[in-house]
Subunit: 247 residues, 4 copies
């Protein structure tokens, strides 16, 4: 098996090193990751400038682009042998609920949707994780299981792992995405020259975070596994919109 790894924290991030370490036992790995932190990059693609790829000392390739650029280049010709699966992460920080819209970690996995095995995005639920090895072991367990007991190839799994020792995990749960409230207000500051600047505020608090959601799973120390779709059509609204147009 040939595994393509990426992330959005950059090629030098400890979470990526932990992931690579765990994946090596499963097959050949190729790592193509951003040359710096690109958190919040979502599925953005660099269309107006060319990209450069550099082989780093640790054997990883870095690209001066987004997570999506990295996986895109890798599976459209940069890597000679097409990978079987994309695993993205391990992100330092959860990707729960609405977070997935903005996440570069999840986007890197989505870009692997044309490959032979489901893509996986793995995040650790802590800003400064202590237990990347737990999340790495979860990733290895999942890939191993996918090989022996396949899921449909176009599935994407968004995985959030509590930042605890492996033996403290309260199992695995298939979850739906919860939802957050609207973001906290914009934060106004002045720069040292007295001009106004604005920071995007923190993500909103949990709104829909009950039983069955990813929020609920990780709060209870379980690994949350959410199947994600790339078809954004809202099928259940099609008929209503159709009728609305005809009135």
């Amino acid at each position: 098996m040939h595994l393509l790894l990426s992330n959005d924290d950059g090629y030098h991030a400890p979470g990526l090193a932990a992931l690579a370490e765990a994946m090596r036992s499963l097959g050949e790995i190729t790592v193509v990751a951003p040359d710096r932190n690109r958190s919040g990059a979502s599925n953005s693609l660099t269309l107006d400038s060319p990209l450069r790829m550099t082989l780093q000392d640790n054997g990883f390739y870095s690209v001066d682009g987004t997570p999506t650029d990295c996986v895109h280049l890798a599976i459209t010709g940069l890597v000679e042998e097409e990978p079987d699966i994309v695993v993205s992460g391990i992100n330092a920080g959860a990707n729960l609920g609405d977070d997935v819209l903005y996440s570069g970690t999840v986007a890197a996995a989505m870009e692997g949707r044309f490959l032979g095995l489901p893509a996986i995005a793995v995040s650790c639920v802590a800003f400064q994780p202590q237990f990347f090895d737990t999340a790495a072991r979860v990733a290895r367990w999942l890939v191993d299981k996918l090989q022996r007991d396949p899921l449909p190839a176009d599935t994407i799994l968004n995985v959030n792992v509590p930042d605890v020792p492996w033996e403290d995990l309260a199992g695995f749960q298939a979850t739906r995405l919860g939802h957050r409230h609207k973001s906290e207000p914009v934060i106004r500051m002045e720069d040292p020259r007295g001009r106004p600047i604005y920071w995007v505020g923190p993500a909103g608090a949990e709104q829909d975070a009950g039983q069955g959601t990813d929020f609920h799973a990780v709060r209870n120390h379980a690994v949350s596994i959410t199947p994600i779709q790339v078809d954004l059509t809202r099928y259940d609204a099609l008929e209503k919109v159709s009728g609305w147009l005809e009135q």
Copy 2:
């Protein structure tokens, strides 16, 4: 009514001017758009740097960030009176099928999902549109209709308008997103100093583009209207993943 307008082609783009012109008759408009072309920005959010907002000569605000940043700032405090609706566009170029994952135009609309009326993303199906006024008239028609005959507030409409005179439009169709093949291969070049550079290749050809899809509608000169969801959970796979985990 208070309309918030944005786009991903930048505050100076003619498509945005056409949209603003059409919306003015419907209520108060506030325009907050990127200071330059940010096509392909998807839902990316600027988390590591502060943003600046500038009032431009044409009365629009520009922000040195992404389309998502623009709408985010506007609805979390920058604009005093909360808008009722976000209308994004008019994009120079279609946003069909998988395009919506990468589109800044669609992302700007998605960021308006917490407001009182459905958000709308409008794109013109041509790289150098001749008939922005057709798409602008479509946008006005839709907003006008939404006021008189509401849809659920959390609906997002992805609208693609053929680049033809209004009278040549073959009606409005509610559509699902089609799908494209995998992208064309990465394009390798050498920079003038002999070092390799790589360009993201063109979007893949239409794969699933039959009756009922957005591709099919615009090919037949109809306005395509696709309801979009922001909940990426793939509900129909939840049970399977759940069972898979239990084995």
Copy 3:
């Protein structure tokens, strides 16, 4: 005469418009300026990415690069007929003493050092100038005089104009650059996520600003004109260094 105009405040800056307006009466003008504010860009050149040039509504070309990029492209092939002179500005803010090391306005002029007439950098001594027309008239007077009464072609003139009505100017003075004290200390802040960020502090106070310096001239409402060199060799230290090496 063919005049090439540029600046570092961006193609849309009012100072550039005032300059272009004044220069039109002297010959053909071509304006190539950055697509956004690039103050502090010094002589930086974009070597790793390609540049794009756009013809804007006001007839100016914008380039997604530095002031130096703009002039460099223009005089190495982008503009068909080689210009005779580069005039850069009108900068909103003085470029006095050590400022010239960092100034994009001065750098744009320096990049015109291979042309047939001396290059000129014009700055207005106010952050929000009221009298750009005064500085524009100074620029026209200088170019006109250079045509009738030439200076050596490889001269670069750094011109600072007080922000007062033309009739309040206290003449023109040939000056040397003064010097500033070391910059004010770095400014530490925290971003909203609690992480440290650092801003470059304000330029240092005047240190060497007596009679004969540019600081002194503008303080006394005179136009300051400083001839600038591009040969950074410190000739008066050559012998000393030579002797030092031989010891």
Copy 4:
């Protein structure tokens, strides 16, 4: 002695590692360098955004800014104990003649002009140097000599070292900067979407490169040492400009 090291190739560049290795024997070293390649950055300063500093695994600090930003932050408060000297490099590539106007390596040294000892910029005359250790040994020799046999503190030395073994160096020469012809023409390409893009052409050929110049020294395998000034006033033209203004 406390040495502040920087460069423009980025904190991870092998030339910087070689320099740090050589300097460690002379005193305490602090390394603050750009987080990525910033060649061609000249003296550009980041005025509109805040900067972030990161302590890297190799003990160096990286800053998401220019070489000038790095030294500026370090000597205006980021580093607790003020350094005595700035040494910048070792650049992969020569900085000869007009190159110094654009060089980030030289600019980093210039930013150290307020410290107690002369600043030094060291470059290796090869794009992919084989003998960084030669240049490193030259740097150590110079700093050591400066301590025992001082030069005026406000001197800046631009040092170019042939890429040969130490024993093949043909001595040290105090040189003046030579000059290059105008740059090679802009290079036009088309991006994959058919739109024109432009690359800055290669530096011009040597024009003034005879005996006494830096070009001549390195061509003859000597280390070239050019004293540089930061006062850009062209004193020998002051009188002429003064007379010209009075006519």
